[in-house]
Symmetry: C2
Subunit: 165 residues, 2 copies
């Protein structure tokens, strides 16, 4: 099972590709697609679309995982995140990859066992769960790994329930 | 000069293709891309992307015109419009077509001469300016024609200023 976690944003879109093998999780790659504020919005969206499409072309994925639509107080940021999220969902659809969505508290719960865990704790747990030598950086890449781990944990839980039946 | 005006939305994206010939404006086509609420968000975004790409493939355009990011009070609607706007801007970028943006008051001003004209007046003026037999429907298609007319008026004004120099 291979999940591409994504944390969309116009300036920085985080990605983290996590594989599950017999309940062992490992990160195949993680990082960010950065775009320059000096570029036109449509060029920045194309860079994000191309960056994520390239990863899906190279590695494939069983699913793409993203945070559910959040209710930020800042409307302009919601619109900007929405645009980046739109091209990411399109990249998934055009690669025939289903999209899984989780709330921030579902992600924290799956990674740390607590729905209101602080960001620092989520990042330390990601490092431990994925047996990484260092805390993954930057933050957007770590957040993307967290949503991928959440998706894999949910998949493991569902498999465990099915096995138990 | 051929402008594709667009009014993005996840459920309904309006489009209107307007041509300027010697200061005469005419609509080549207008309508909406509708998506079903029962479809997954990424499928709906793909339908919008494909619908707009098909128009750009068939007719081409010198520019795509959209309303500037607006500051709606509803954050969820901003996120949803943002996603649709993202795939539309991507379609323009992938077709090498520049994107022009105008505020709602710039659009009303260009179409009616008043920045705070009511919607009804904008629609009547669009019908008159484009010499259409009937008021264009639905509203999202009329709004898309309005932003295209706005873009063409701005282009005419710029041309007139250049000619006058």
């Amino acid at each position: 099972m291979l999940i591409l976690g994504l944390d969309p944003g116009t300036a920085t879109t985080g990605y983290g590709l996590v594989q599950a093998d017999d309940y062992e999780l490992c990160s195949l790659c993680h990082g960010v697609v950065r775009t320059a504020a000096s570029d036109r919005p449509e060029q920045r969206l194309q860079q994000i679309y191309t960056g994520i499409s390239d990863i899906l072309d190279e590695y494939g994925a069983d699913a793409v995982a993203v945070e559910k639509l959040f209710f930020n107080r800042n409307v302009q940021s919601a619109m900007s995140v929405g645009q980046a999220r739109g091209v990411i969902l399109l990249a998934a659809a055009r690669h025939g990859v289903p999209v899984l969505e989780y709330t921030p508290s579902e992600i924290k719960m799956a990674v740390t066992g607590h729905g209101s865990a602080p960001k620092q704790q989520v990042q330390s747990m990601i490092q431990a769960v994925l047996s990484m030598q260092e805390t993954p950086t930057p933050d957007d890449a770590a957040d993307a790994l967290a949503v991928a781990v959440c998706a894999l944990r949910h998949w493991e839980w569902e498999r465990a329930v099915e096995d138990g039946q």
